[in-house]
Symmetry: C2
Subunit: 430 residues, 2 copies
Amino acid sequence: MVPRLTTALNGPLLELERKFLDHTTTIEQWFRMQWLDHLPPFYGSVDLRNSGYKLAPVDTNLFPGGFNNLNPAFLPLCVQAANAAVERICPDAQQLLLIPENHTRNQFYLQNVARLVSLLGHTGLTVRIGSLLPEVTTPTRIELANGESLLLEPLVRKGSRLGLDGFDPCAILLNNDLSAGVPEILQGLDGQWLIPPLHAGWHQRRKSGHFAAYDQVANGFAERLGLDPWLLNPYFGRCGQINFHERTGEDCLAGQVDMLLTRIRAKYKEYGVDEKPFVIVKADAGTYGMGVMTVHDASEVKDLNRRQRNKMSVVKEGMQVTEVIIQEGVHTFETISGGVAEPVVYMIDHYVVGGFYRVNNDRGRDENLNAPGMHFEPLAFDSPCSVPDCRQAPDEGPNRFYAYGVVARLALLAASVELEQTAPAEAVVA
Amino acid sequence: MVPRLTTALNGPLLELERKFLDHTTTIEQWFRMQWLDHLPPFYGSVDLRNSGYKLAPVDTNLFPGGFNNLNPAFLPLCVQAANAAVERICPDAQQLLLIPENHTRNQFYLQNVARLVSLLGHTGLTVRIGSLLPEVTTPTRIELANGESLLLEPLVRKGSRLGLDGFDPCAILLNNDLSAGVPEILQGLDGQWLIPPLHAGWHQRRKSGHFAAYDQVANGFAERLGLDPWLLNPYFGRCGQINFHERTGEDCLAGQVDMLLTRIRAKYKEYGVDEKPFVIVKADAGTYGMGVMTVHDASEVKDLNRRQRNKMSVVKEGMQVTEVIIQEGVHTFETISGGVAEPVVYMIDHYVVGGFYRVNNDRGRDENLNAPGMHFEPLAFDSPCSVPDCRQAPDEGPNRFYAYGVVARLALLAASVELEQTAPAEAVVA
């Protein structure tokens, strides 16, 4: 059971949640129509920030790595949704090759992989794990802290097909975000379902592209519901030619920060929000919370010291940051036992299958809670996001979770639109 | 929580369950391939009998009336599955008209209707209830024992469309089994989704047709798994020209009973089953457990007294029985607190969404547990049927439930095949 959340501000967000509750039928119909036109990603997770006056996505992950954090009671929901995803994308698949990240020392991540293997197995797929690690040259069993184990096997490429020794799968599911680019062994595959498609990897994907698609989705949704889309959507800008070491691109960055802060201030005034506006500067192609900075004034990005510049210039797999997104900061007003909390919603196909709170006792309301080496406490949602109860108050558990699920699905839909827009001309979008 | 079931016989059924557990991947793949070729019914429920040596469906209901008996914790599974069903059958539907049975004094049934309205509402449909009762001439609110209420409204037919006052739905969902035939107001509709199609009603459907389709499905499945199909499939026969009052057709009946008992005896011998074989004689077009008789010897059907003949001759809505199915009886070896129990599995689209036990303290192991006026205690399954755990014993809860779900889905698939075979040439199968 998740402890009851406390939300510091009981103002406008209740209005937003009330609006969702009053229009669940319209919302669900709207989504159903959208999914007729757009192929949902196989899976995804969305980080939300709930400021009391605003509920918005701040990151959408197409290679979700926290299935182990979901309430185990929702496993049947995951299985059912995974069934739907398999039927939609690769109905004839019998064998599936799962390619995870290379974090073999991260017990939390490995438990995520184990959970994925288990839930995909329940859909009737034979699932085996192929490792991109060069040191995995023979099948290698890894023991997990929870008593389970995983067998990592070396990938075997034969012509245009990828598999394992004695295993020629119809489908390959990536749980590796390709931050370092597409490994050669994954290039030029033919006749196998590759899920999600390669262009969903961070070697090609850009947060700014996602949020441009989100603008489009959120505007359509807000119009349908008669809402100000800002209540669901963080402003953003981007700078495409940054070099933190050589201090080039600082003017672009400072200009974007200043423009965003001005726009946010105007909105705060309109809604009577008595908070200090801030923006988040982060790598446009990054993940894992690396290369993230909270900025309250444009001058701050002009006076970065060496440590800050180092921190911002490198993300996962040692990739250099040359493009950044500057995103309106959304204060987290949700706290659990004094710790700052942000909800993370998990989806398979277009179904919300659970979520958890990232809870952090050391960070402020205007800081990123997902950073390397940072301890966060996952707290599984205690009810799914699909069954609001209109007779209860908007901030009661099932209803708050419903609101999370609505905004998370908007972000997932944006990811669909984004992948359509970025699909290479010759690609089969799987 | 459901108390632990006790199964008197720990013999061959464990072998069957073990076989299912060892082949979950094959089973789920097999089902996925089948559902590519066959449209699942919108919803259905299947009565199972578990004899210890055999696990078989004995009735498949395409107008399930016990959603209120399911574990409320599975409501999200129902909502997700209903979403899939709506997307498959009537994705553009926004308004749905639900037409229930006319049992306005049956609180249990009315709570089923309320549960259906609720779960369909969560999929984003505006659901209203249209009554076939002639006395419902104005909107009539019915209070339920659980504090909820239902609004029954008079149906309004306009040309070839059916609706309510101010309500012109895209889809009509029948929760009425049409035992008395298709009411005129439902005939000749055009431009609306009618779910399930009219020919799924008991005015046209025959149990023998269903079990003929089940033969086909069970044989295919058993062959794939290397099983004797008899372990999943009750023998049956039919007599098409019975008149219990005039005592015509008794020879056909006695002959079928004798033949089936002979075949069952041979199977009992093959498997070393030390039980007394019996058959169930029931109306081929009946439901609600009316017109059902347990027979141990052919002579019994020749010596029916007036009371027995009366009991067998009429089913729901006063319809005369002229066709009967004679079905191999399957002893129920499952007991809960001394009462005899049979599992009922609920499905929406092709997903198992829960189930319950019909528990009866007054009936024997070879009797029908679903009869009019009979008290049964519904006991919701405490875990869904989709997540077997191979590390546990075959008769542990999750695994026994998985076995139930497999056999129930075989019966649901048989219903799909049956509806295809009986579809009128011009019908759009919805």
